[in-house]
């Protein structure tokens, strides 16, 4: 391995170092605050390292990894999401657990798994990244061990995720039988001229099941609502953003390597999955009274929109998907940030009645939630609108008319339930609850500031998307 290759791995080593630093800090009995600050600094170092190595990219580290602009962009979105999740976690866990520290080890390990997914170009690294992510997520979901809901959703996710990793492995084994290789590019070359057998097609179907499960696409979405509801609110935010970004990145890289989009049949399968996700996700969300479950169904629908950008398999498609994921991450993080802040010691703020008249009690929080819901619904002047717009544009350029039409129609259905929450925010307020003094004034300030910044970012991305698109384009040139 040359020096440059080693250097290119620096950001990922810093990320791996973050969890070790946290372990050592716990051994030294340092406080939660110190660990929080150190963790945040390590994430900053990761970003700095990424900027530092930018000039020597792209680097291939045979046979497992490739670090290029594509990986840097997706890793950037993941690190951003985890930074916000980490900031939101302080208040949430300080109030609940005697021992909130080990949470950060698991959080950083899960991040490492998601980041490894973005750079993998081999089945072994794909599988290891996915499992580092999933195994840490099992523990994160069940972290509040005195709550029945958390244990239940943890066990559900555990059984289903382990089952789908077995499916994924069988799919990989059948790919290996056909091609004799586990590298994405080598598989693509072997497949180019040949007509694969029936076992290979079975393997492909199994892999679609596994990826569909991880992205919570219909018909593999059944875990989403339960896990979103039972997991602690910051962990839910992590599942909705970082884990899906990682899995989507590897799906994109794999399908580009094996020219998945060239096959008429597979294109139809994926557009079927996208259409089913958009329709079912939006319809199931209509009658939800629980905001975490509602966001779960809305995330199923949003991943369906994202698959529309995946279908063309071109540069424009990648650009649209990165922008979409970034906008979606900001939006969903601010929505879950509000859920986190409003949660009490006993119960997460998941019932819609908690939000009745929120505007009259806490106008800033209500404004942030309203903006993020507008962005989820795709109202103009928010990031969500522009993200949806470029996805539509890519779909229309490549004549994917059916998914595009379904996208537009289901967005209208979506508008109904987002606006229903917003009208709840402005309803007449119930009797004011007694004010209690916040425990950690500094971290309350930081959390509010983060949410405010996220709100501003949603608006800025919605009004001036040009610089962001330009930045994405420049990173994608590194290949």
């Amino acid at each position: 391995m040359s020096n440059e290759q080693l250097l290119a791995l620096l950001p990922f080593m810093v990320l791996a170092g973050a969890s070790i630093v946290v372990i050592l800090m716990i051994a030294a009995r340092l406080s939660h605050t110190a660990i929080q600050v150190a963790g945040f600094l390590m994430l900053c170092f990761t970003v700095l390292a990424m900027g530092y190595v930018r000039d020597i990219l792209p680097q291939e580290i045979l046979p497992l990894f490739i670090i290029d602009g594509f990986a840097a962009l997706y890793t950037g979105v993941i690190i951003f999401s985890v930074g916000v999740v980490g900031l939101l976690s302080y208040i949430y866990f300080e109030e609940r657990e005697e021992n909130p520290k080990e949470y950060y080890i698991l959080l950083f390990l899960a991040t490492l798994g998601a980041a490894v997914l973005t750079i993998s170009r081999h089945f072994v690294s794909l599988f290891l990244g996915l499992e580092i992510l999933s195994v840490s997520l099992y523990a994160l979901i069940a972290y509040l061990r005195n709550r029945n809901n958390a244990i239940e959703s943890g066990l559900k996710y555990l059984i289903l995720a382990a089952l789908t990793s077995a499916f994924l492995l069988l799919g990989m084994a059948l790919f290996y039988m056909e091609t004799g290789s586990m590298e994405f590019n080598a598989i693509g070359q072997k497949l180019a001229g040949s007509d694969p057998g029936v076992l290979f097609k079975l393997g492909l179907a199994l892999m679609v099941v596994a990826i569909g499960f991880k992205l919570a696409l219909v018909p593999f979405h059944l875990w989403a609502a339960d896990v979103y509801q039972g997991a602690p609110a910051p962990v839910t935010a992590f599942i909705a953003t970082a884990s899906k970004v990682g899995v989507f990145a590897v799906l994109m890289r794999f399908s580009l390597a094996v020219n998945l989009q060239q096959s008429e049949f597979l294109l139809n399968v994926f557009s079927g999955i996208a259409i089913a996700s958009m329709i079912l996700g939006n319809i199931l969300a209509l009658r939800q009274q629980n905001i975490k479950r509602l966001l779960a169904y809305s995330s199923i629908a949003h991943l369906g929109y994202l698959i529309v950008a995946f279908l063309p398999g071109t540069r424009e498609g990648i650009e649209a998907s990165v922008f979409y994921l970034f906008a979606y991450a900001i939006t969903i993080l601010s929505a879950f940030g509000i859920v986190t802040i409003l949660s009490t010691r006993m119960k997460d703020a998941e019932d819609l009645s908690v939000y009745r008249g929120l505007f009259w009690r806490k106008p800033l929080l209500a404004a942030v939630l309203a903006v993020s819901l507008f962005s989820l619904a795709g109202i103009p002047l928010t990031a969500g609108f522009f993200a949806k717009f470029i996805v539509l544009l890519t779909g229309a350029n490549y004549n994917l008319w059916l998914p595009v039409i379904v996208l537009v129609l289901t967005s209208v259905i979506g508008l109904y339930y987002y606006l229903r929450i917003i009208s709840t925010l402005f309803a007449s307020a119930p009797a004011a609850e007694p004010r209690h003094k916040p425990l950690h004034p500094f971290f309350h300030f930081v959390t509010y500031a983060t949410l405010f910044v996220l709100m501003v970012m949603i608006c800025v991305l919605g009004v001036f998307p040009g610089p962001a698109i330009e930045g994405i384009r420049q990173f994608l040139m590194i290949r």
Binding site: F127, L128, A142, I151, L155, L158, L163, L169, M182, Q229
Partner: protein
């Protein structure tokens, strides 16, 4: 032995695993069935590895080595998964005094 026999055996083991996950109600047995599925894949990978190795020429003498390497990683990951999984099952037992997965029905609307 022809490769088909390994494939049949591995797929049969895999299907027994799936059936167990779907039918059994005890969380620990469900977990064992998942392990069975992973080991079926291990068997398959080793068989394919040997198959590709037999076809190898002098130019690429290490052909088919990836499959066997992958098996070690799968074993490690399966062990990690089981340790975290058993910890969660123990916590479940503490809360509801049972490891029956029919008790996992409280999350609703």
């Amino acid at each position: 032995m022809p490769i088909e026999r390994y494939i049949f055996l591995a797929i049969a083991l895999f299907c027994i695993g799936i059936a167990g996950v779907l039918i059994r109600r005890n969380a620990i047995i469900v977990f064992m069935c998942i392990e069975l599925m992973l080991n079926a894949v291990n068997l398959l990978l080793v068989a394919f590895s040997k198959m590709h190795h037999l076809k190898a020429t002098a130019a690429n003498a290490t052909a088919g080595i990836e499959g066997q390497l992958f098996v070690f990683f799968i074993m490690v990951v399966a062990a990690a998964e089981v340790s975290v999984g058993l910890a969660i099952i123990v916590m479940m037992y503490r809360n509801v005094h049972s490891v029956d997965i029919n008790f996992l029905n409280r999350l609703k609307h």
